[in-house]
Structures are given as structure tokens and as C-alpha cells.
Symmetry: C2
Subunit: 338 residues, 2 copies
DNA sequence: ATAAAAAATGACAGCGCTATCATTGCCAGT
DNA sequence: ACTGGCAATGATAGCGCTGTCATTTTTTAT
């Protein structure tokens, strides 16, 4: 049947061509380079397309043009609003340029990441955005063989050839620790969970600052591998105060934990910040509303998304990329909890 | 050049075939139907694939087989953990069956939804999962013309031909209102933002119950179109107490608003639940940790994802689908705040 | 040993689209 | 009138893979 509407029932370019009495290639042009097709014809084609509900098949398009217009984005989690914002920034940039973003969540696991890289490489993406630098060797090899540009987000690296957009987790943690010191705290604890590379970097920043101040005491560090949550924050605060009851400030590696701690203080009647100062990391929207409001580090996560996307876009399109590493900094938000 | 590694530099089936000395179709089979290829050959092909970093091109595969193994999922938002959980459930089911999930966020806008439907239809998905029933006519037409199965999530509909998995938003809201009544509250307010169809359904449920109790007073309803957030919850509580100061219970349309209200009460020294009972909707993880802990409705969002995915899968694969509508119910979580 | 069945492999065409290189018609400039 | 240039459209081939239908080889049954 030469006149069947293709094997799937979906309308094809060929169908549109037949309907408007031109060749398929002309219809293709009407969509991709409208200026190359006469006004009148373009309108007729558009009309026919609307009538038939024609939607171009990207698979065929990608195959023929050798450009998928896909970009893959891998983030560790979405149950943390941090990455939702990053992804929002990425999407915005790519959508404006006609690219489709494919997003995957690797749950902080390098193994899952590899599976995802493989899965998304199958979409022949024109580029890829990864979170951090913690990849398996085999993943790295896959990416090299794919030969597409990669930009890393959130962490920075001087490693040759690597493109990255983020900020210094260490410096941020150092700044927060210094803030607590400047508030006269002497027995500052550090509590973290979900020990991904960024969390560990924050831990190093804390240590650097606290050692420099000559106030390091190992029993004030509490690191657990569990997934972060508000509930866990309460648990960890309790545990910390058992092993180090005289602690006068706690720096949590993220706002979720800090919030849980704030609730626990409320429950136990621990005065914040008088008896105990509490600090978080990320500055989630809620941290401004808590009682007391939470001192934290505002991280430029939306901006990281936007800038990383722009950098990747430049790499894909062959535009000049001035810097391989973009440090977007961070801001201390000193609030009531300290 | 017959021996080039394809135009993109990526390894192709052909390359693998050449390397192992068999035909391309056999290599394809080694991946898709390993049992149809001899043990030895399969291993050699696998080895070669690993060496070259071969990843199959889904675009080509989809085109040739007329099955993309993609499914598209559209949710209104991710900045709300509710949908993150739903999507997690969906992903799990589809991944187990070899499908790739493509996710889009429509920001509660039917217009954005249409753009996304179009964008994802271009991936020739084998099925689609949508949130709610609030679509444009033109979107509906597009979907019909695409001829793929669709399952709607979160809301239920008896509409002929529509498949849906969710729970009754109205009944849930009614249950919560009755719970507040059962606690002896007489001046129960309803506060909502982001007036999507589900929010409005909750409003109806509240009204039904409160009218039945003969306690309806229009000035205790506060509905605003703004996006939900914890901060907004605090603002709306203040506003409500200005226009209806003697309110003795507030039912918020979601937990975020309720949390903000809880904080505001803390700030203003309003005793919860003694002076004012506060209730939310969804039962986010954090709602158990707040002080006081929040009474809310536990919604089966993860399960909705799982069941909707299963239903869609059955529709795609032509398996029997016993019910077109699956009501997963909800649970009242009565806690300290009421 | 022989026929029949099963397992393993291959040839070929084509999915829907676009890159590339024609071809046609028309108009400006001389 | 004639050349050159441009705008509008078309013909052809092929992207990488798989469905379908052979063909060859091996195994099993008699």
C-alpha cells in the first residue's frame, strides 16, 4: 500500500508531502528552514500538519542529520530541591536553543551512574552534564569513546581537559565555620550524612578552619552514610549531644539535617542560638521561614545549571569557551539560628 | 571508506560485526535475543562491544522496530516532593521492563503541557502518563492522533475510554474536615494556593463536609493562585486570621502551606492545637517531624506511580487490563497539630 | 545411516528523516 | 536577447538498526 499512513499510523513527512502536493524534502525544509520555502506553501504545510497532528519523528531526524538535539543530564537526587533547581536552569537554557533535555537520577551511586550513562548514550546525545567528578573508570572510558562534550557541575576541578561549573564546597564550609567562630563559639561540631564527595569536601573545609583555630576535637564530628532527611537531623543531634554534650554550635552539611535539629531543639527546649547555634548548607527556601530562621550557605544551584548548560552548548556548537572552570561562589546567610 | 567507524565516530553494529567476523544482524540478535546466538559468539561480541564502548543507537532501533521503548511522563512540578515520589515509582516499573522514561514538567500549565506533549510525541513514545485530566482540546486531539495508550494519574475519572490511577481528592478532603469536626472544631477554615484541579477538588470536599455540618462560612475560605511554598503558608495564615480571627482550625490544601502556618504560630505564640488546629495534605516526610507534628492525609503517590506504570505497560503490551480506574485510597494521619 | 527438526547465521529491505547536489523558473544587468 | 544569480523545489542516497524470510549447520529421532 503506497498510501498507507506509515506503519505506525502516525503521520509522516511523506503523508504531508502527498497532501500538499510537494516533495518530502520540501516539507522538511518548511519546518527546519522556513525562510527557504515560499510563504504560501509554508502555510499550507503548517495547516496540513495541524490537521493530521503531525509531529516530527526525532529518531529519524537524529539518524539522518547525525545530530540528536538531545542532551543528557545526570543528577544524584531529586528528593533534594537543590538539584531540582539546577535542572530547571539547565532546561531553560536548552529549551531556548531547541535541545531536549533527558534527565536521569543516579542516587549518589557511581554504579547507577554508569548504567544511566549507557542508557542515555543510546540516545546519541550531543552533550552530557554530570554532577561531580566521582565516576567509575569504565564510565569515563564510555564517555571518552562517545566523543561528546561533557560538563561537570557543582564541583570544580583543575584536571586537564575537564569542564566544570560550580563553587568551592571546601571554601564555603570554611566560611561557615569561621562565621561560627566569629560568633564566639568554641566547641563547634560538624554533622553530616550521605557522604558524597561534596559532603566530604565540606567536612574538609570545616576541619581546615577549626584546626586553624586550634579547636579541633574529633568527637565533635559525626558522619553517617544514611540518606539525609529532616528526621535524621533530629536523630543525629541527639546522638551528637550524647557524645559531646558541651557542644555550643553545630554545622550540618545541609539544611534538611539542620531543620530536623531545629525541631529537636524545640522539642527538648534547647535554646537556639543561646545554648546552641545551628547552621545548615544550601539555603533551601524553607530555611528562611523556620523558627528560628536558619543560618546557612546560599549555593548558586540554579546558576550552576544555567552556566553549565551554556558552557555545554558552546562546546557543542563549537563556539569559544573562555574558561574551562567557572566558580560561581556562594554566600553566607547569617540568620537567627546563630 | 568502508572501514570508517561511522560518520559520528561512535561504534556501530556494523563495526562490531566486522570485528567479530559475523553479520550485523547477528550482532543485533546477540544483544536482543541472546539465547538465539551461540554462547561463544555472544561472549566474543560482548567483549568487542566493551572494548569499543559500543552503545546501541536507540534512534535507529526505534525506527527499524517501530517500538521506541520510550514512555513519556508529564508532571506539574518537581519542587513538590509529591511528584518526585510518583516519578520514582514509575521509573522503577519501567526500568524493570526495559523502557526508558522521559519526564517533563509542565508547571501546572495546560499550555506548557501541550508543548511538552508535542515534544515528547516526537520521541515516538509507546505510551504516555499524564497528571490529571485538565488538558486542552488540542492536546487531546494530538494524543488521539498519536494513537498511543495514555494513563492519567492522581485524579479519577469515569469518562469513557480514559484510564486513571489515583484517589478521590474530594473524599480525602472530606475525611480531613470530618476529622476536625470530630475534634470539636466549629470554625474550620480552608486555605489553598496554586488552584489546580486537585486543589479545587479538595476545596469541594471541604465544602461538602462543612455544609453538611451546617458550619459553612464563606469568609473562612482563602484561595489564592500563587505557587505554594512554606513562606506563603505563613502569609496566608496571617491573612486568614485577619479576616476570620475566631477561626479554631485551618485545613491547608497541602503540607507546605501548613508547615509555614505552624512556623507562624510559633512566631506569634499561637498554641497549636489548643487555640488553633492545623491540618495539611499529602504527608510529606517532614510533616512527622515538625513541632507539633502535623495532622495530614497520607496520599499514595509512590503507589500511584507504580500502578499507573503497570497499567500503561499492560496497555502497551496488549495484556488484559482488569479495571480502567484504580482508586488507591488515602489515609488520615492524625497527629499533634489537631 | 537418514530424514526431520532445531539451532545458528545471513541477505535484504526499509523505518522517517535530512545532507547533498541537482534542476527549474524567474528577474536584474548589460 | 543573453548571461548570471538567486529563489524555490526535487531526486537520491543513506543514517544504524531490525523484521522477515532465507540458508546453512548441528542435533535428534528413527
Amino acid at each position: 500500500m503506497a498510501s498507507r499512513a506509515s506503519s505506525t499510523g502516525r503521520a509522516t513527512l511523506e503523508d504531508l508531502a502527498r497532501l500538499t502536493g510537494v516533495s518530502a524534502i520540501t516539507v522538511s525544509r518548511a519546518f527546519r528552514h522556513p525562510e527557504k520555502v515560499s510563504e504560501d506553501l509554508r502555510r499550507r504545510i503548517q495547516q496540513a500538519a495541524d490537521d493530521m497532528g503531525y509531529v516530527r519523528n526525532r529518531a529519524a531526524s537524529a539518524l539522518a542529520s547525525n545530530r540528536s538535539m538531545n542532551i543528557a543530564v545526570l543528577v544524584p537526587s531529586l528528593s533534594n530541591l537543590v538539584f531540582v533547581e539546577t535542572v530547571t536552569g539547565i532546561e531553560k537554557v536548552f529549551r531556548e536553543h531547541g535541545y531536549q533535555m533527558l534527565m536521569g537520577v543516579n542516587h549518589y551511586s557511581a554504579e547507577e551512574e554508569e548504567a544511566l550513562v549507557r542508557a542515555y548514550l543510546a540516545f546519541a546525545p550531543d552533550g552530557m552534564l554530570l554532577t561531580g567528578f566521582n565516576h567509575r573508570d569504565s564510565t569515563r572510558r564510555l564517555l571518552e569513546q562517545a566523543g561528546i562534550p561533557i560538563v561537570h557541575m557543582m564541583e570544580l576541578s583543575e584536571r586537564e581537559g575537564a569542564y566544570s561549573v560550580g563553587f568551592s564546597q571546601e571554601a564555603a564550609a570554611q566560611t561557615m565555620t569561621e562565621h561560627l567562630l566569629s560568633r564566639g563559639r568554641q566547641r563547634i561540631a560538624f554533622v553530616a550524612s550521605q557522604l558524597d564527595p561534596r559532603t566530604l569536601a565540606r567536612n574538609r573545609g570545616y576541619r581546615d578552619a577549626i584546626i586553624k583555630a586550634g579547636l579541633y576535637e574529633s568527637h565533635r564530628e559525626l558522619l553517617v552514610p544514611d540518606q539525609s532527611s529532616v528526621a535524621l537531623g533530629a536523630v543525629l543531634l541527639k546522638r551528637l549531644l550524647e557524645q559531646a554534650p558541651d557542644t555550643d554550635a553545630v554545622f550540618f552539611c545541609n539544611d534538611d539535617l539542620a531543620q530536623g535539629a531545629l525541631f529537636e531543639c524545640l522539642r527538648q527546649g534547647i535554646a537556639v542560638p543561646d545554648r546552641l547555634a545551628v547552621a545548615g548548607f544550601n539555603d533551601l527556601a524553607i530555611s528562611e521561614c523556620t523558627v528560628p530562621s536558619l543560618t546557612t550557605i546560599k549555593t548558586p544551584r540554579y546558576e550552576v545549571g544555567v552556566e553549565a548548560a551554556r558552557m555545554l552548548l558552546a562546546l557543542i556548537e563549537g563556539d569559544p569557551v573562555p574558561r574551562k572552570m567557572i566558580d560561581l561562589g556562594f554566600q553566607l546567610r547569617a540568620r537567627e539560628s546563630t
